[in-house]
């Protein structure tokens, strides 16, 4: 069973890499062509605003990341490179970092980017909205000269953590002269951003598209190649597939079309599909137990939940093979920290039943053990279907399941504010750096009522809390990895919240599109070097 799945997963991957190889070779066809308009889309809807300071989900991240830039970026090989910063380095005690700012960068309105903009962005945007959870130990920033910013922390900060902060999420450098003195969340510039990136905002036709134009004063000389970029929103996957076929859309990130259509499109030879470009934003479907319920306060019961669910079935039928069973809260594409050597909760109903028996919940005369409320968050349709599979698995071991699939606001409220669930199916998208994105699901300071995508299970032990504090401040990379491996062993054993599957996100592009999928979080990168062959 498991074998067929992995073959299918690898099959899809191999197919995609094969096709990517083709892109690479066509890339060798010579000089990039200048000019033209690129039409891009993504596998979701229009954002609430072009830029949302706190991120606001994938949609505003996609639209804003073409305009704004970060201090640095991570390459496909894993190296950190400067973008709006030229370089950064830690102090001897790792409690401060010196960032050297790039000279000659101008905002779209012609004003120079200065150290003031950087300090403002860190103090007012990152610390309060974009990266609040990661910056709890941030003390303040100062600029000893016009091209250096010193960022200070109260505790030692590992270099990988700091670099990830600079290169991740929506940690952009925003213009102080536009945002200072206003409420960043409601600032009108969020709908027509002024930034430093390769693309300049031109127009937003609501319900249809964004139009961006080339930034002639871009600091990377000669870039971007193209004159215009249109980000077009199409409500449904079938419509996107039709638009691809008609040549109206060149590239779509984050699963723009349904799996059967991926095969149909690539089969024509005019399109490529690739799972590359999602290494720093791996999505998973998570399954968590509410430990406030005394039944789930028992570790054996939690483990039994996972043993009862056929994860490869989920990967196969619901994601058509574009997913793989999850084995750890750190996902397998994570080169720095992933370990396969974790506590395994493989599909094994007999073991689940035995665990439930020993936990003190034997089958009653009617064949049932207890009743649970299973909540599948309705923001993805897949979650409801996974709910059906989980329900079936649990029923097979004698648990009565009441499944609900509430809509987005109800799900957020019930899981993260009211804790009104016994078992929940939700989603996580995590970067390589485990603190805090991954760890906050397991620590006591991750329990924040009303803040979504945190520790809703209520699980906390001193063991994990102490370990995460150590991971936070361990500046030696090798020692840090050992600690994170330890973290994975404990959390998989405790089974309060684990991934059911890691989802393989797919980008579909016309073979004409060159230089794409070349960033580990391609949806959120600037696309400064993209071009369209004739």
């Amino acid at each position: 069973m498991a074998n067929t799945v992995s073959r299918r997963v690898f099959g899809a991957g191999a197919l995609a890499t094969g096709l990517i190889g083709k892109t690479a070779s066509s890339f060798a066809q010579g000089e990039p062509k200048r000019g033209g308009t690129l039409v891009a889309t993504w596998g979701g809807g229009e954002p609430q605003a072009c830029y949302v300071p706190a991120g606001g989900g994938s949609s505003p991240t996609f639209s804003s990341s073409k305009l704004f830039e970060r201090l640095g970026r991570r390459s496909m090989e894993g190296a950190f490179e400067g973008e709006l910063a030229e370089a950064w380095k830690p102090a001897a005690d790792f409690k401060a970092y010196a960032i050297k700012i790039r000279k000659g960068v101008k905002f779209h309105d012609g004003k120079d980017m200065t150290v003031d903009d950087v300090i403002y962005s860190i103090d007012e945007i990152w610390k309060k909205y974009a990266a609040a959870a990661a910056m709890t130990d941030y003390v303040g920033g100062e600029s000893p000269d016009s091209d250096t910013v010193i960022v200070k922390f109260s505790k030692p900060v590992p270099e990988f953590f700091f670099s990830s902060l600079l290169c991740g999420g929506v940690n952009y450098i925003v213009p102080k002269h536009v945002y200072a003195g206003s409420d960043p969340v409601t600032n009108a510039a969020n709908n027509a951003p002024i930034a430093t990136g390769p693309w300049k905002f031109k127009e937003w036709v609501r319900g249809s598209h964004f139009e961006y134009v080339k930034n002639d004063a871009y600091w990377r000389p000669g870039f971007p190649y193209m004159d215009r970029m249109i980000i077009r929103y199409v409500r449904d996957p079938a419509g996107r597939a039709a638009a691809f076929e008609a040549g109206d859309i060149h590239i779509g990130v984050f699963n723009p079309v349904a799996p059967p259509d991926i095969k149909r499109l690539t089969g024509t030879g005019k399109f490529v599909a690739t799972p590359k470009g999602y290494e720093e934003s791996v999505w998973s479907t998570s399954f968590e137990c509410n430990t406030r319920n005394p039944i789930f306060a028992k570790r054996e019961v939690r483990q039994a939940m996972f043993h009862a669910v056929d994860r490869s079935l989920i990967a196969r039928t619901i994601y058509y093979g574009y997913a793989r069973p999850g084995t750890s809260p750190i996902f397998s594409p994570n080169k720095e920290f992933y370990t396969a050597d974790t506590y395994k909760t493989e599909f094994d109903p007999k073991k689940a039943a035995a665990l439930l028996d020993t936990a003190g919940y034997p089958k009653k005369p009617d064949g049932k053990r207890f009743t649970v409320n299973l909540l599948a968050a309705g923001w993805f349709t897949e979650n409801g279907k996974i709910g059906a599979i989980v329900k079936q698995g649990l029923e097979d071991v004698g648990i009565v399941v009441n499944l609900t699939v509430p809509d987005r606001p109800s799900s957020i409220k019930r899981i993260y504010t009211d804790y009104d669930f016994d078992l929940a199916i939700s989603n996580q998208a995590n970067p390589s750096e485990p603190v805090p994105a991954t760890t906050q699901y397991y620590t006591s300071d991750g329990i924040k009522k009303g803040v979504p995508f945190r520790n809703a299970s209520g699980f906390h032990t001193d063991e994990v809390d102490v370990l995460v504090e150590k991971i936070k401040v361990e500046t030696d990379a090798t020692k840090r990895k050992t600690l994170v491996v330890e973290f994975q062993k404990i959390t998989t054993r405790e089974a309060s919240n684990l991934p059911l599957v890691e989802i393989e996100s797919i980008t579909v592009a016309s073979i004409k599109v060159q230089n794409h999928s070349n960033d580990p979080n391609y949806l959120a990168s600037t696309w400064y070097d993209i071009w369209l062959a004739s």
Binding site: T317, T381, I389, T404
Partner: protein
């Protein structure tokens, strides 16, 4: 005697007879569903997307997850008919109470209640149902209540008209002069005479309720613990290129059921309101 005449008139309408027989089949399927398909119809039992006839074990094929279509259709009959009947019951209770009160008492009570009915008639009905379901939560009982709330107005109007016509008749006057209470007059004297047209309308509300429920489920707001025909149509929607039968089959089931209920309504209309034939 009268009763035989009603049955006779009903049976003379061939369409109604066919409709009644088919509904009987659907009802039997609903009743006996657990006998034929003892396990939960939402269980995954085979390979996904098997076409009808591809595997003899699944005559109507399987859906995108590998659930038996036939089992879901048969169990779905149960949910569909129950929702239709209960929603119609809710609508009838509200409609008859409101209509009777308005028609019997008249005056400002009538004016107020009819304004309220107008209000509910004005709000776009399905939108109202969807809003209620989103707000109360997607459970079977909430869907029934929501459909009942938007479906009572026509029944109220009909009841009111009947009451207006009947309230000043001699037999009612006689009851009044005997000192009978209003409630007793309404329930025991006028209501039985006003019921026939209301019954026709209620039977049509059943058909309407089934269509409402299927639309709600189709849009993904149905109860996930119930095999509903509408939801099955919605599930199959993503697969129209490869497996359109998943949407087609439950839709046919909905259509046949609604068609039969309409035929029965027509037949009842002929049988109970001979004056109103051909309307």
């Amino acid at each position: 005697m009268e009763r035989f005449a009603i049955v006779g008139r009903f049976a003379r309408n061939r369409g109604a007879l066919v409709g009644a027989l088919l509904i009987l089949v659907v009802a039997l399927a609903a009743l006996l569903a657990p006998l034929f398909f003892p396990i939960d119809p939402l269980r995954i039992v085979g390979a996904p997307e098997l076409w009808p006839g591809e595997d003899p074990a699944f005559p109507l094929g399987t859906d995108s997850l590998g659930r038996d279509m036939l089992a879901m259709i048969v169990h779905g009959a149960r949910a569909t008919l129950l929702i239709g009947l209960f929603a119609s019951a809710v609508a009838t209770v509200i409609g008859v109470s409101v209509g009777a009160t308005a028609g019997y008492f008249g005056g400002w009570i009538d004016e107020g209640l009819m304004r309220a009915a107008e209000l509910f008639q004005t709000i776009p009905n399905l939108i109202f149902v969807l809003t209620i379901v989103v707000i109360l939560g997607s459970t079977l009982s909430n869907i029934v209540i929501a459909i009942g709330i938007v479906s009572w107005t026509s029944i109220a109007r009909m009841t009111r008209a009947e009451f207006l016509a009947l309230r000043d008749r001699e037999f009612v006057q006689a009851c009044r002069s005997m000192g009978m209470g209003d409630l007793k007059i309404i329930v025991a004297e006028i209501l039985p005479n006003a019921l026939p047209p209301v019954i026709v309308l209620s039977s049509l509300v059943v058909a309407g309720a089934i269509l409402f429920e299927s639309a709600v489920s189709f849009l993904g707001l149905g109860d996930p613990n119930v095999a509903s025909w509408g939801r099955l149509v919605g599930d199959g929607r993503q697969l129209i290129r490869s497996s359109w039968y998943i949407s087609a089959i439950p839709g046919v089931a909905i259509m046949i059921t609604v068609l039969c209920l309409n035929l029965i309504g027509d037949g009842l209309n002929d049988a109970l309101n001979p004056k109103l034939r051909d309307r």
